[in-house]
């Protein structure tokens, strides 16, 4: 596979992100307008200045009109994209490529999802008419295969495994507690997390991300134009995306302790960005913590931890906000919920704040002051064995 990347060819010059949560007060249009308004203000531009738009949403609308109508966009290209949980990131990735190609000078990537209007708990998908033979397992159930397999493979005692999972939830809720945009802004005790009612397998309620509404947006221009809009832009170092062959459900060799799609996309991104040791190079990572065991396996799939040792790093606090490599310093999906189209851009928004020193002091990560500059965002969409994975790497400095 040849993946050349567009390292340092485009930059983010403005971002916006709505508060996430049960936004009974806001419709899809309102959320889009709020995120777009904040993003253009941040870049110091108007909607008129933007040449093309990429909208990510899975269930809250179809076609570019979902965006062009509320924003009253004047006869410009608006592309609606969907790629499971990486939908927002996919909007960003394609907007970046459009700008890098020279087709447009200024593009907006925006994502939105309005999950709470459905009246259902958990995610609801839109499926094509089929033969009815798909096993109707819920997402928590599909991911619940991971924890026991991991514990079995690496000899982690089930009780200890539950502690590891709870520690991840505890960390992300602790981070979200001080983030005004988060859906859940409260620390949750280890005991409460560990004892929460079971949803699937040994996943309790607190091992699962929430369901929320939200929107986030980014303004993208060519790197050489960045300083026309911003004194401190973020340059795109890597963008990778893979869709797997979906063999995990039928391959007897698959053991649910890794997501091959994530391994592939992370390695591609590291290669694009020139990173050899991600744990030592990254200032932070925003990863797809849809369920606590997912985050654990991601630490190993993205080489933040050695195989089989991620659980020890979790317990050691390596990925805490004040740890060696802060993971989900904004609170992650655990604290924000997961409005599909918005999540990827929400992760970028945290990089935007942290890497440029704009995060409030009470939740500023220390790694930036220590001289690390790169942030990573990641989404996983689908289920273990059958998924897509996205990784981006961004940073405020142009490479030599």
């Amino acid at each position: 596979m040849s993946s050349n990347g567009i390292r340092d060819r485009v930059a983010i010059v403005g971002m916006g992100c709505t508060p996430f949560g049960e936004r009974w007060d806001k419709g899809v249009d309102d959320l889009l307008i709020d995120a777009a308004k904040e993003a253009i203000a941040s870049a110091g531009v108007t909607l008129d200045d933007i040449d093309a738009f990429w909208l990510g949403t899975m269930t809250s609308g179809t076609s570019g009109i979902t965006l062009s109508k509320p924003l009253k966009i004047d006869y410009k290209p608006v592309t609606r994209v969907e790629n499971f949980c990486a939908t927002g990131s996919e909007a960003f990735r394609n907007a970046c490529y459009a700008v890098a190609s020279g087709a447009y000078d200024l593009a907006m990537a925006i994502g939105v999802e309005k999950l709470k209007d459905t009246g259902y708990s958990g995610l609801t998908g839109i499926r094509p008419v089929g033969d009815g033979t798909d096993a109707a397992l819920s997402s928590p159930a599909a991911f619940s295969f991971v924890a026991p397999s991991y514990a079995d493979r690496y000899g982690v005692d089930p009780e200890e495994m539950k502690q590891v999972m709870s520690r991840i939830a505890w960390k992300n809720h602790r981070n979200g507690a001080v983030n005004p945009r988060a859906q859940f802004r409260k620390e949750i005790s280890m005991e409460t997390i560990t004892r929460s009612p079971l949803v699937a397998g040994n996943l309790g309620v607190y091992d699962c991300s929430g369901v929320s509404d939200g929107s986030a947006a980014a303004i993208i221009c060519r790197a050489e134009d960045a300083h026309r809009y911003s004194d401190n832009p973020l340059y795109v170092k890597a963008l990778s995306f893979v869709a797997g062959p979906g063999g995990g459900f039928i391959d007897p060799d698959y053991d649910y302790t890794t997501f091959p799609e994530v391994v592939r996309s992370a390695e591609d991104a590291y290669q694009q960005a020139g990173i050899t040791d991600p744990r030592a190079s990254l200032a932070m990572a925003e990863v797809h913590d849809c369920f606590t065991p997912t985050e654990l396996v991601l630490m190993e799939d993205m080489r933040f931890s050695e195989r089989g040792l991620g659980w020890k790093d979790v317990l050691a606090g390596t990925f805490d906000r004040d740890g060696e490599l802060p993971v989900n310093p904004d609170g992650g999906l655990k604290s924000f919920g997961h409005p599909i189209g918005a999540s990827g851009l929400r992760m970028l928004f945290e990089c935007w704040l942290q890497l440029r020193g704009e995060a409030p002091p009470e939740r500023q990560i220390a790694t930036v002051a220590e001289g690390r500059t790169l942030g990573l965002t990641h989404n996983l969409g689908g289920a273990p064995g059958e998924c897509v994975s996205f990784v981006s790497i961004v940073g405020p400095d142009l490479a030599d």
Binding site: G130, G132, A136, L137, A141, L198, G201, I250, P252
Partner: protein, 489 residues
């Protein structure tokens, strides 16, 4: 040329409801014994298919080219139910499949229809019933659910295990029991009236059958009298003039009266006991009377051995097993008599007719595809090989009858089910292949990695009136199923 039964298969569902549980819930008398209960994901079609699979599993020689499906509780009207069984058994496309809907008597019609074509080709009669009734009533208490399949053929390959000697019947129009379409509770007239009408009708048919066969009542070695009119059946049993020990016991105490499946269960039970040469009689008391006389052949013992070797359980063994702790509230929920609060999740989607039709070998026959180039097995069948990426070089293989083991599993408390929680299992099949599916007839606390499973045909859900049939895995060491010896062998 003689003809008759060449194979049989019986299916009694896993669950048993203690009659005492009804009394305990409703405050009535305790009641004795238990009844068999079709699970929430079973209906007369799925039970019929299971019985059919078992009949065919022990069958040597040609497959049936006609299928007659009898049930008073069809899953569909207007649409033929026998076609789902035909499809899941993967009978040839030219083989017929016909429903006989409406009463216990339809089962006799199915048996006679199957036997009627046996001189030309083999045919299978599938008798299936899911008995309902109002809460606390005798219909609910004394009935049971189950299915039996009997394959008929001629003796050109010495396959006939019971030769069809004679049939005689009487037909009468009178109100014994009735139920209008859509209702779940049958009405019955005063019992003494039915007895008065039935007994002479049976005696007339009985005499005709004996005369036609050229035998006397005392020559009959085993006689089973079946019917839903308990009082008439009882009176007939003691008035046929047979030797007292010839009257075979029913399974009222353990599984209840199987209604339209009861004639089949009685026949299967006699075939599982009779010596070669024994004269068997089936007496069906339903809207008249039917008497069938059969003679066990020398092929019967070998057929029984083959069945046991294949892990097929006898009716008596199935009747004697099954977990007896089904809560009455769960039984009522399964039968739709207790409307429960659903989870706040979307309703299941209706499967599409064209997509379902295209995937018939997968959905009905649980066919996988094996890559000719590297051997990798795909479920569902794929055109491009996952391992070596070869395109369109696949062989189909049916895995419906192949066992497997649980590679991993989970208990899903969020997914919609009539009987939560859903158990999801990743199954590795013997000889290769992995699939993720639902488990059924299983206790979440008893499932473990390594648990042996078999595939069973179930109704996943019903959406907009469409029954979504597909395969689930169930533990094989459950009571009422293939015994462990057969499985290990």
């Amino acid at each position: 040329m003689t003809d008759g039964i060449v194979s049989w298969g019986s299916y009694l569902p896993y669950w048993r409801l203690q009659r005492s549980a009804i009394g305990a819930s409703l405050g009535g008398p305790a009641g004795r014994g238990s009844r068999s209960v079709a699970s929430y994901d079973e209906d007369t079609t799925t039970m019929g298919l299971e019985a059919g699979r078992r009949a065919l599993a022990a069958l040597d020689g040609p497959v049936p080219e006609d299928l007659f499906f009898a049930t008073p509780a069809p899953a569909y009207l207007d649409k033929t139910n026998a076609t789902a069984i035909h499809g899941a058994l993967e009978l040839p496309g030219w083989a017929g499949a016909y429903d006989m809907i409406g009463s216990v008597r339809s089962s006799v019609g199915a048996l006679r229809a199957a036997r009627g074509v046996a001189g030309d080709h083999r045919a299978v009669a599938v008798l299936s019933d899911l008995r309902t009734g109002l809460a606390g009533g005798s219909e609910e208490r004394d009935s049971g659910d189950g299915a039996v399949a009997l394959v008929f053929g001629a003796d050109d390959d010495d396959a006939v295990v019971a030769e069809w000697i004679a049939h005689a019947g009487t037909t009468a129009e009178f109100l014994d029991r009735w139920r209008t379409p859509g209702e779940t509770d049958s009405k019955v007239w005063e019992e003494r009236f039915g007895q008065e009408v039935y007994v002479p009708l049976v005696h007339q048919a009985w005499s005709e059958a004996l005369k036609s066969a050229g035998v006397t009542a005392t020559e009959v070695d085993h006689v089973a009298v079946v019917g839903l009119h308990t009082r008439a059946v009882g009176a007939v049993r003691t008035s046929l003039g047979v030797r007292p020990e010839a009257v075979v016991a029913d399974r009222a105490a353990t599984v209840g009266n199987l209604g339209a499946a009861e004639p089949g269960a009685a026949l299967a039970d006699m075939l599982e006991r009779a010596e070669p040469g024994a004269l068997l009689a089936l007496v069906v008391v339903a809207d008249g009377a039917d008497v069938v006389l059969l003679r066990a052949t020398d092929a019967l013992p070998a057929a029984r051995q083959a069945r046991h070797a294949a892990g097929l359980a006898d009716v008596a063994d199935q009747a004697a097993s099954g977990p007896g702790d089904l809560p009455y509230a769960r039984f009522l929920t399964w039968r739709g008599a207790l409307l429960r609060e659903p989870p706040r999740r979307p309703d299941p989607e209706r499967p599409g007719a064209p997509a379902t039709w295209r995937s018939t070998p997968w959905k009905g026959g649980f066919e996988a595809s094996d890559c000719r180039s590297c051997g990798f097995r795909h479920l569902p069948p794929a055109r491009v090989c996952l391992r070596c990426r070869t395109i369109d070089e696949m062989d189909r293989v049916r895995l419906a009858d192949v066992g497997g083991r649980v590679a991993t599993y989970t208990v899903d408390r969020l997914a919609f089910s009539m009987s939560p929680p859903v158990i999801g299992a990743v199954v590795d099949f013997d000889g290769g292949g992995r699939y993720r599916c639902e488990m059924t007839d299983a206790d979440p606390d008893a499932v473990a990695i390594g648990t042996r499973v078999e595939m069973v045909f179930r109704r996943l859900n019903t959406a907009k009136g469409v029954h979504n049939y597909f395969w689930k895995a169930r533990p094989v060491d459950v009571p009422g199923d293939a015994d462990d010896e057969g499985e290990d062998a």
